[in-house]
Symmetry: D2
Subunit: 347 residues, 4 copies
């Protein structure tokens, strides 16, 4: 079997190490380059001794023209803004790019610039596909540039899609109360990410003011067929991995719980990574830790006046690197679940 050579750019952050975990075991992939700004020449296991058993993983400084010769696809785990230049450089050399940053998620460059600053590669935006396979499987299959969704947006869009697509709820009244593990903040140094600040603590942040809201609104509007603004409240959990979103929506017709469950099950019928839970069982972040699964539970409440949908994903897997591999598989005509049939680690 011919293996596809890939690069992981920015390999020492948390999405990078998660990609190493998934790609080192991928039967159709060779990791041909592993780059890091600060650790040139070091073995990957000198940064992450957990990978002592994986031989031959050496970090290099990114040199796009050199790396491009050796690879077919690049996974970019770079900060936003930095990513767009590297993407353009790889694309101009014919390398497929799976970009995990925010740089190519938003169709509207003005919106990007409102939240993230100047966009210098606007011409690439049209070719970028939003890497949520449950919504854009076909487009991802033919794409050369995929922008994988943010972790919060993944957890929210997957919970709302059946309701919006089937016109079951009022798009003007959507509340997303999301709670994320701390790895979502990355491995960079911030006081707020210190153990003693996070442990035995819980708090909201950036309520109605988090930049993921632009991305959520873009996709929710497409699903609703009209402009939608959700209310998005993120919170920080004292766990490593996991996002749980509790979504409050308003049905526009009378529904029974059973029927709604059936609609969700039908909507996601052939999806390998979506699990609809039976009534009375709610998702939990630990259920999906280390897997590419999104669990969904729901209930009609307030005597029919509201629906609560709860979703759980692992922010580093389905919320980032796992989804990136899923897109990679689709882009390369491989079985979508290759290297992603991951069992949960309990407890």
């Amino acid at each position: 079997m011919v293996k596809i050579p890939v690069a992981i750019v920015g390999a020492t952050g948390y999405t990078g190490v998660e990609l190493v975990r998934l790609l080192a075991d991928h039967p159709n992939v060779t990791i041909a380059a592993l780059t890091s700004r600060e650790n040139e020449g070091k073995s990957f296991s000198s940064i992450y001794p957990a990978f002592t058993g994986k031989k031959g993983l050496v970090l290099s400084k990114l040199n796009v023209s050199e790396v491009a010769k050796k690879i077919k696809a690049a996974f970019l785990c770079l900060p936003h803004h930095e990513s767009m230049t590297v993407t353009a450089d790889f694309r101009s050399r014919g390398v497929r790019v799976i970009d995990l940053s925010a740089d190519f998620r938003l169709k509207d460059p003005a919106l990007y610039e409102k939240w993230y600053g100047r966009h210098t590669e606007k011409t690439l935006l049209a070719s970028a596909v939003y890497g949520l396979p449950e919504m854009y499987r076909k487009e991802i299959g033919g794409a050369k540039l995929v922008a994988t969704p943010g972790c919060y947006p993944t957890s929210i869009i997957l919970g709302l899609a059946p309701l919006l697509k089937e016109r079951l709820i009022d798009p003007a009244d959507i509340i997303c109360d999301s709670k994320s593990g701390t790895s979502g903040a990355g491995r960079s140094l911030k006081t707020d990410s210190l153990f003693c600040e996070v442990h035995e603590n819980f708090r909201p942040y950036n309520i109605d003011n988090h930049r993921h809201v632009a991305e959520i609104n873009q996709e929710v509007s497409i699903l609703a067929g009209e402009a939608v603004s959700v209310l998005f409240s993120p919170h920080l959990l004292p766990i490593d991995r996991g996002i749980l979103s509790t979504l409050y929506v308003k049905p526009i017709k009378r529904l029974k719980g059973d029927d709604l469950l059936k609609k969700f099950s039908a909507f996601y019928r052939n999806e390998p990574f979506i699990q609809i839970l039976p009534e009375g069982i709610w998702p939990a972040t630990k259920n999906v830790r280390g897997t590419n699964v999104c669990q969904i539970g729901l209930k009609i409440v307030s005597e029919g006046g509201r629906i609560v949908v709860v979703t759980a994903i692992d922010n580093l897997t389905k919320g980032a690197s796992g989804q990136a591999v899923q897109c990679f598989n689709l882009m390369h005509d491989l079985p979508e679940t290759t290297s992603l049939n991951l069992s949960p680690l309990l407890p």
Copy 2:
């Protein structure tokens, strides 16, 4: 100074040990009895070696007629149902009761029986005062039987009171997304309370089906002046102590954030345990851990279409034993903050 002799009944659970912490240092109190079904004759420090330095705390089996002779007030940390009989027994002997169970919180015995089972002491219900000093200070001052609020209700009612009292929001559209630390489940043995089930996990439970909703609705209805049903979604946090409630409500007139903050500050002007945070700063459970404080933050969102109110309390202190001591102080004409000027423990 004459000290008031009190009993702590059910002293080895988490609300019990929190009462011991607060009352052992209370300048106007003597702990005259400390009871436990299973640990008769043992020293308190044999159960909780952390209390090795507190001498003279010995556990006995509850004998109401004996204990009643020695005390003026009893704090009851018993399971619901069990508590009502002991309450009646103490009251019939003239002892003041601060009951931390649910047995005397609900005015309507039918509602109690729906959620908790048979109520055998209905005649006492009329004399019971709901122990939330910010709402019922005067009544508590004159009460012989106080039922301290549940932890979730405390965190929710305090966040909604100014809005409801001043008719600023639609009482028919209130969503309470609450997250509680695990000590709220008590010290009894349940698989769901095991370390390996809670740690590195987060999940909702009993959405729209938690028995605290009866109590929340009772008090919210009184505040609103009409029958109200809130939507209540509890979640379990991997922390010991703390409840954070994120409340979503709908304003019925145009409001500015500044004005709203001022209204909250004015409403709670003389309250020693309520802290209104400046805009942009949100409550965090760690900020109030070990204290009797309720922190409140808020924001007008969705272009004026919603208000988000966030409250944080320590479920064992303001949510249970601290509030019980606050009520005790009021019942005995002591300064309300006696033994409750607790500094937060950071980190």
Copy 3:
């Protein structure tokens, strides 16, 4: 490929669910029976919703004569004492047994009875092989009954073996300071295993009085060629998974750190699951979480007067179920690492 049908007996505890994780993905295995005393007829995912994606796993009550007809090998995750009877029953029907309890670890039944109570299947003891492949690979290969080692003993024996085998240290002066995650205590209900007792806490227990010491001494004595009693101090860590043992031993000749590292590397040269770390890098429980790896680091200290060896394993994998699968592979002439090439989950 013909698959080997197996049973997991006692499948709902933590070693059980870990076996399900490993065996559900094992290419040469079919899980033919999954038993639980209390959950007859339920799907495995109704107990562990994390396994929603694994279809066809249904719990039954153990009926040895029925199950024995369908399987070639049984993994027993039962409490000690209970396990010995079931083992005998399966063995009498020709089924191979991998027993994860303590029942067949100790050669000397008197020692067993000192620590665990009566042994009713002494005749089987002679045929039982201690399931530590790094020491008894050949014997395990030919065994019909394998007793997998305890988690603490695994972490200690692997750290001491090269030193004892090569007569480098004084066997009379061995101190084992071990720290274990809470899953080692199992899923049964104990106050000491509650989240609020373990979280933000650390403490020793059973110092010089833990029953694993019998097993450690048995194996250490065999390695030393003389009767040895180690000093064993277990501690409880507020983590789910992982054991780290810090071993203090006394060299009987002058050694250099480099040479010692080389000796360890040589000793474990062909071992797929042992990783000797370079000087200056110490093992960490998170490095091996979810894997079958034992990491070992060491240093000559006190100016040559002592050696410190540190080992880290995942108590549920290399310390229990992973090692059981490793033994199973050896017993069935499968590649030893089948289904055990597990990547670490970071962070």
Copy 4:
């Protein structure tokens, strides 16, 4: 009552905020200055919103000549090296200094320079008293400059003192296996202190190579009356607060457990913060969290061949700021326990 005006220099780190907790409630103290390099002019509660209820705490930039006019004593929570200059400056203006850094702990400047770099205030060393009241109560009482002990040394010296003073053990054979919570690493930004690196992890670091060993050896040698080198192995715990040290020593005469317990109890008879636990009960970090207590448990093991002593302290209280206040009380003829009668926070 006249209150003593004090400064807390470096108030926004973890030892600083712990001093604010203790001194804000101290009946004989006024906090006259609270300094921070980076937060000039901000309120303390803008950095730590947990202190919203404590009014009047404003951060300033340190100006020694100005501050010295307003205060009698300064608590220095500065990095080592930086602290020595500020100490000299305050001392030259007659201000008493309680220095929480390492700068004046070591009598021998050569030793200091080996571990910490150049010492520029050697002339002050002679007047500095090591701030461990259980050993140097009288000297602290008369001191103008107190260097409070490191957290690890406090936990180790208190466990060894009775044994060494009474010549019960071999000073040449002492092993200190210590485990510390993460607040010991301070609030500065390090990858190793990030939540995702510490949580669900446990690991040793700097074995036989931690700079606290110089301080431990200095004090242990004084106790033993001869030069002693202990073996010191620190480990990092996924908890906020607490150090537990497991000490392995060799008795030089036959001892009974009971007698040893009595010797410890007698040795610490009048100590308000030392708790000797009965046999069979071991210290736990949670027992002392937030308190100035050191719990000690012990056992004679290995058939009399060894003694295990276990100590637990809160690294920020008895291991740093609490001990600093204890020294302050002694220096100012106040009751030693003033503001330190702290109850443990359980759970």
